[in-house]
């Protein structure tokens, strides 16, 4: 027990020890801001992988580590689409994942946001044109926010999500 306390005291606070995102994401469309209003600056996210190489998921996972600690912004990762305000989709949509994706979209209660994370989700990236890939995410479900990058750094994802949270008119 003392060892654990000692270790924790020695480590101290590490939150925020990262280089800030180089550039902010493209500004959000006004209708997206409108859509994000009911969430009142907190967001429950469901991550859906439709064929990524796993790098984007690793960066999503990194957001929950003590350095980024995404929960301090009221963003948390839900275990089911039924508990989610926003779907974060990674990867080009493969032929085999097309149905599960549409299904998840249907299961997510309205109002909902869809965030395409990474180059593959935005425009299929390097897998563009392949017989097994049916297209980017917005070919199958409407996308509200795009976060480009291969993969985007956690700081960039954080910045983009903060943008969505800022949607509330400043009070």
């Amino acid at each position: 027990m003392f060892r654990i306390l000692k270790k924790s005291l020695k480590t101290g606070v590490v939150t925020g020890q990262y280089t800030d995102a180089a550039q902010s994401c493209a500004s959000l469309a006004p209708e997206t801001r409108e859509k994000a209003l009911p969430f009142k600056q907190s967001l429950a996210i469901r991550e859906v992988d439709t064929g990524s190489c796993n790098a984007c998921e690793m960066e999503m996972n990194a957001l929950t580590n003590p350095v980024y600690d995404i929960e301090r912004f009221g963003v948390h990762i839900a275990a089911s689409p039924r508990h989610a305000d926003a779907l974060v989709v990674t990867g080009p949509v493969t032929a085999n994942m097309e149905h599960p994706l549409k299904d998840v979209y249907k299961q997510t209660p309205d109002p909902k946001l869809v965030i395409a994370l990474g180059d593959c989700a935005v425009n299929c990236g390097i897998f563009k044109g392949s017989y097994a890939v049916t297209g980017p995410v917005d070919r199958h479900i409407p996308v509200d926010v795009c976060i480009p990058g291969c993969p985007p750094r956690p700081a960039e994802i954080l910045e983009a999500l903060a943008d969505v949270r800022r949607s509330r008119p400043s009070s």
């Binding site: 992988d49 064929g51 190489c53 929950t64 689409p81 493969t94 085999n96 017989y131 097994a132």
Partner: protein, 525 residues
């Protein structure tokens, strides 16, 4: 002629009429008639203890009107490659699965991608092509266009059922509760214990092997880096090694050291992630927080060294793109010293926790026998007593000049797999120090204007952090790739999970799965 291994001599004395088609110090290739294959495969597997490392098909058209099926066996650090030709209209080949269990998924994969039928295979359900793919869709046949849109049909996948009182099924996936990849698991349980697990994968099949065929040897590297995101450098390096041997490129010594350095850095950050993940699944949040913090430190280090947290773009055909400056070297030493001390403290805290050890021991045991039957590789293999590590057995990059201690445990449970990772963390840090001390100076990239003949091929093996990664690259016309077979360690380790979970309770499955931590993307391709 270099020294032959005793295994090769034994093949030759048992089958005197076999004539080696190609023979180098590490690989012997035999062309075998279709009818003799099962007998030879059984001999290699049972008598000579050969591990089936790779099985794949090549469509030889338009050069020759035939298919070739290649069986790669790994025998005491040598490779034996059996090549069987399939020509004519019947498209049949004899299945070796009845005697070599490890061939099971490979043969189903060949059937799906090439339309060749393994005769005598006990399980001919679809593997890669899900049931909604129309009949006759075999994407790796040469006449199949890479950008063809595939249609849809109705179909149903039949899982194996167990019937009886109190037996029920739990379907999980393809979308899981955590932030992880897509796969489907079907458990048959009686109460809590798992009686049977069936895995159904290939949801993330992106047609990577076909995409390789659209690229030239030089331009395909970014694709290899995106086979499996967490093994970016491992896959990139394995591809480079194969392409370089086709292009007759001699990688400069400085670049080879840097390659080993980056490969160890990749191993480190992934191992930290895994140790943390195993602790989360036992609800030990403190250990997880510390591990993910250390992992983050390493990924930020990667970012400062190469401009990518995943070391993307650090490789080039013929060398590396980035040097590590003297300042960066001393920074790296500082970061690693701090992390090693930090981790040693954490390790003693973790293993002082009896409730954690209790969860880990005897959970998800993969016996040495089962591991051997599946030809399991990498961390999972080393935790089950299979003494193999490509870095030592067939050195690549700069490993021929470095001393590797292979971590080996025998129990095959979750704790053994955790221990392998923890010991490898210390070993990797030691190796990085050795690499930095020995780092020579010199050029970063080599060039050559050699063009391989169409039909020439090369095989390469790299020990990624998960295990042995294999690449088979065959050159085509105009510097293009004719065939590229990618084998992530996950492909052989996934079926083994189905056996490791039997008898364990369902709540332990996430823990067992984490301790294997296999890639879905690298498996599905």
């Amino acid at each position: 002629m270099t020294e032959r291994s005793s295994a090769v001599l034994r093949i030759q004395s048992t089958f005197p009429d076999l004539i080696a088609e190609r023979s180098s110090d590490r690989l012997v290739q035999y062309r075998v008639d279709k009818s003799r294959l099962p007998e030879l495969a059984r001999f290699l597997h049972e008598k000579l203890q050969g591990r089936l490392a790779l099985l794949f098909a090549v469509d030889c058209r338009p050069l020759e009107e035939k298919y070739e099926i290649q069986y790669l066996f790994s025998l005491d650090r040598h490779w034996v490659l059996l090549t069987v030709a399939v020509a004519g209209a019947d498209r049949l080949f004899t299945s070796i699965t009845p005697s070599v269990h490890a061939a099971q998924w490979y043969e189903r994969e060949i059937r799906d991608l090439f339309g060749l039928i393994p005769q005598g295979h006990p399980d001919l359900r679809r593997l890669v092509r899900h049931e909604h793919w129309p009949k006759g869709t075999h994407p790796l046949m040469k006449e199949f266009l890479w950008d063809k849109t595939i249609g849809r049909q109705q179909g149903e996948y039949r899982f194996r059922h167990i019937e009886g009182e109190g037996v029920f099924e739990i379907p999980v996936g393809p979308i899981h509760a955590g932030v992880i990849e897509a796969g489907h698991f079907r458990f048959s349980v009686a109460g809590e214990p798992i009686m049977q697990l069936e895995i159904r994968h290939f949801w993330k099949h992106r047609g990577i092997e076909k995409l390789f065929e659209q690229q030239t040897l030089i331009t395909a590297l970014p694709l290899a880096e995106r086979v499996s995101g967490d093994t970016t450098f491992g896959h990139g390096l394995a591809y480079c090694e194969a392409a370089e041997s086709l292009l007759h490129l001699e990688v400069p010594r400085h670049a080879r050291y840097l390659r080993s350095l980056f490969l160890e850095l990749e191993r480190l950050h992934n191992h930290f992630g895994d140790v943390g993940a195993i602790c989360t699944d036992t609800a030990y949040a403190l250990a997880h927080a510390h591990c993910s913090r250390m992992k983050e430190l390493l990924m930020q280090l990667n970012d400062r060294l190469t401009g990518s947290r995943f070391l993307r773009g650090a490789l080039a055909i013929g060398g590396v793109t980035n040097d590590v400056s003297a300042i960066q070297r001393s920074e790296m030493v500082d970061v690693l010293d701090a992390i090693e001390k930090d981790f040693a403290e954490l390790e003693s805290i973790i293993f002082a926790n009896a409730s954690l050890t209790d969860r880990l021991e005897t959970t998800g045991v993969l016996t040495e026998r089962t591991a051997w039957d599946h030809g399991v590789v990498g961390i999972v293999g080393r935790a089950s007593g299979m003494d193999q590590d490509v870095r030592r057995d067939r050195p690549f990059a700069a490993y021929n000049e470095l001393a590797i201690n292979v971590v080996l445990y025998r129990y095959g449970d979750v704790r053994a797999r955790l221990r392998v990772r923890m010991d490898e963390i210390h070993e990797s840090i030691r190796l990085i120090r050795e690499i930095l001390n020995k780092m020579p100076q010199g050029p970063l990239v080599a060039t050559s204007d050699h063009q391989p003949r169409p039909g020439e091929w090369a095989l390469s093996a790299v020990e990624g952090w998960r295990g042995e990664i294999l690449y088979f690259v065959m050159a085509g016309e105009n510097g293009r790739i004719h065939r590229c077979k990618v084998r992530d360690p996950s492909f052989v380790n996934w079926p083994a999970i189905q056996w490791a979970v039997i008898g364990n309770i369902v709540p332990d499955f996430p823990l067992i799965n984490k301790s294997f931590n296999l890639s879905y993307a690298g498996n599905d391709l």
